[in-house]
């Protein structure tokens, strides 16, 4: 048996991927299939799943209704569509802001003296040593009406002698955006850095020799060559941001419901796992579609692996 294994390359390969395969099938494929089956079911009065086959949960999310005011036969209730739209908009805005902040920083690190590069990268990674939620709480301390930022500003205003009314920062949409950008910044910096670092210095020299000014060099050489990093970073940021709700809950004061909240509520407060499963699948489908078109358009870098 062992001898045969030693000689047979293909069964060696099979053996090597078996743990991964078991992991993927047991913890991804099977749960996903269960989610799909449950999403066609109905909720019992006590919140258990009644296994039937119906599309009612999907019809409810899409907001198509036959019980309309004014006698129409079919109408549209944008309740859940609005939640999806709001989640998409937040994810989009956060990702764009993260790119705008991460790119210059990654560029700076990549062009820094190799001796200092590791220190800078280390500094980017240090915040990740602290738990995600604790870092959000730290932001709450900063942004409160009587928090650190307002206290410092008030003290400075007092020194100069101008009247100061504290800014209302916590529990606003702006606070949510700040928190999102802060939490996901490292995941964009690292892949962009990786692709920038790979650019051969002789390419810059060639561009300069051929008469390109720094702006032209950046637009024609640096930017196109670093795009794989941006794409990889976007995937690493956009997908988790779509499902995240802890930042918007803590910094936004739970004033709005995002798709992540909606799904969580179905499994807890509403005790309706069938609708929750349908919503999860819709979220997954949407994320897949967005990522698919995005990578189709911009290509798919190996940076996502490097990160």
């Amino acid at each position: 048996m062992l001898k045969r294994l030693r000689e047979n390359k293909s069964s060696q390969g099979t053996l090597l991927i078996t743990p991964t395969l078991i992991f993927m099938v047991g913890l991804l494929i099977i749960p996903l299939l269960l989610t799909l089956i449950i999403s066609f079911g109905r909720r019992s009065a006590d919140g258990n799943v009644i296994y039937t086959f119906g599309l009612h949960n999907y019809i409810r999310i899409l907001g198509i209704s036959t019980a309309c005011e004014g006698g129409q036969s079919l109408c549209f209730d944008p309740l859940y569509a609005n939640i999806l739209r709001r989640s998409l908009a937040l994810a989009f805005n956060s990702t764009v802001l993260v790119i705008l902040l991460a790119y210059p920083l990654a560029y700076f690190i990549a062009r820094a003296h190799p001796k200092r590069r590791n220190t800078f990268l280390f500094m980017v990674l240090v915040p990740l040593w602290t738990n995600f939620v604790i870092r959000v709480y730290a932001w709450m301390m900063l942004l409160r009406t009587q928090g650190v930022i307002n206290s410092v500003l008030g003290w400075l205003a007092g020194l100069v002698g101008i009247p100061f009314a504290p800014f209302e920062m916590l529990y606003t949409p702006g606070a949510v955006l700040v928190g999102m950008v802060y939490e996901f910044l490292p995941f964009m910096i690292l892949p962009i850095f990786t692709s920038l670092e790979k650019i051969d210095n002789s390419l810059y020299e060639a561009a300069a020799d051929l008469g390109a000014n720094p702006i032209r060099t950046f637009l024609r050489v640096t930017l196109p060559l670093s795009m794989p990093g941006v794409v990889a970073g976007t995937i690493l940021v956009f997908i988790p941001v779509m499902g995240t709700f802890i930042v918007s809950d803590l910094l936004g004061g739970r004033q709005v419901i995002l798709i992540g909240n909606l799904i969580q509520r179905q499994f807890l407060d509403a005790r309706d796992p069938t609708f929750g499963s349908a919503a999860s699948l819709i979220l997954m489908a949407m994320t897949l579609i967005v990522t698919f078109f995005y990578t189709r358009k911009f290509g798919f870098g190996e940076e996502i692996v490097a990160a």
Binding site: F122, Q146, Y171, I257
Partner: protein, 380 residues
């Protein structure tokens, strides 16, 4: 450079090892026949000795709800080691238990979810002969969610009502309906609890908090749509934080939060609205198939005795349904007892209890409540 990075890492690792080493101080133990905890609390002997053969006890309880001395004393007295898991909502606890495969011996559900747990066959019937039934105040026994206390014994009780900061709110509210006052817009914190907040709107309209009538719920939704834009923060974890920090001036919160907020700043006033507050009660239950029921009975019996339960007055300012604990505190911890009896937050006026409402499971209407909640929060 690589070398330097390793040096930095090595320093961090050493530092964390040192921290861990310093953390492990001397624990309590047997000192001259007396069992004493690390904090110096002398563990009382059990009033009723229950035979325990189990080596372990698996608790599944609300966050911040058990005095640390209880666990140490129970371990010292019964020689049982305690595993302690926590949850922060009944729904979370229910989801975990109903997913099956749970090995918990005791959990602390609130009244409204108990009916559901009983119907699902998730609770064991209790043997009253092993429980100190005489210790409990009869007002908290034999309630509608579990007539005859077949499955539950009371732990702590409380309510959800209105809190305001008397320094900043010049015209304080007296009822839930008053919260619609435009003066309060942008200054309020509400529990992130669909049943309580929708229930509040139902009460102002004169309806039952457990209604399943879609027309009444629709009215409540429209009423809430006027209130929600003025709510700065929904928080069921720690609403007191925003109140104490001055981010908000008033809102709807519960007993323990109000008491703590008042200790921080006496300007906080807790009032029972004219429509009636939301009353609730947490209860010990033994989940079906609990692996160590003997230890579970010993735990309830031991911690329910006055000489231990009085610690709740010190640590967790809720309503104590345990007569023995209040008697013990009156005799031995006068200061705590007086603070408890003199505060309307813990010693609730009888008319407030009479006017109160209890949330019940609404069965098929649960998703409707959730959808209303989504609609209220979804409208911009």
């Amino acid at each position: 450079m690589k070398n330097n990075l390793w040096k930095v890492l090595a320093v961090f690792v050493l530092a964390s090892i040192l921290l861990v080493a310093c953390g492990g101080g001397a624990a309590g133990g047997d000192e001259g026949g007396e069992k004493v905890t690390a904090s110096g609390f002398v563990c009382p002997e059990p009033e009723t000795q229950i035979e325990v053969t189990s080596q372990e006890l698996n608790l599944f309880v609300w966050t911040e709800y058990i005095p640390t001395e209880w666990k140490e004393c129970f371990e010292l007295v019964y020689g049982v080691s305690i595993n302690h898991d926590e949850y922060s909502s009944n729904e979370e606890m229910y989801a975990k238990l109903s997913a099956g495969g749970s090995t918990y011996d005791l959990t602390l559900p609130t009244d409204y979810i108990i009916g559901l747990m009983i119907r699902q066959g998730m609770l064991e019937e209790l043997d009253h002969s092993k429980l100190p039934m005489a210790n409990y105040d009869p007002n908290y026994l034999d309630l509608s969610f579990d007539p005859g206390n077949v499955y539950t014994v009371p732990y702590m009780a409380g309510n959800d009502a209105i809190i305001y900061n008397s320094e900043t709110v010049s015209d304080p509210p007296e009822s839930f309906a008053d919260l619609w006052n435009p003066e309060y817009a942008g200054r309020m914190v509400m529990l992130d609890d669909s049943r309580v907040i929708i229930g509040m709107a139902l009460l102002t309209l004169g309806y039952d908090v457990n209604t399943t009538d879609p027309a009444q719920l629709e009215e409540a939704k429209n009423k809430l749509a006027e209130l929600v834009p003025g709510v700065k923060l929904f928080d069921s974890d720690s609403p007191k934080t925003a109140l104490i920090a001055g981010d908000v001036d008033l809102g709807v919160t519960w007993t323990g939060e109000a008491f703590t907020a008042q200790q921080e700043n006496p300007a906080f006033q807790y009032i029972y609205p004219t429509e009636g507050a939301f009353l609730w009660q947490d209860n010990w239950v033994i989940p079906t198939g609990a692996p160590h029921p003997d230890a579970a009975y010993a735990w309830i019996s031991y911690t329910s005795q006055g000489s231990l339960f009085w610690l709740m007055l010190r640590d967790f300012p809720y309503i104590v349904p345990n007569k023995a604990a209040l008697d013990y505190a009156q005799a031995n911890e006068t200061e705590l007892y007086d603070a408890y009896m003199n505060s309307p937050i813990t010693n609730v006026p009888e008319e407030a209890i009479a006017a109160g409402h209890a949330i019940e499971d609404v069965g098929d209407a649960t998703p409707l409540y959730d959808q209303i909640w989504t609609e209220i929060k979804g409208s911009e």
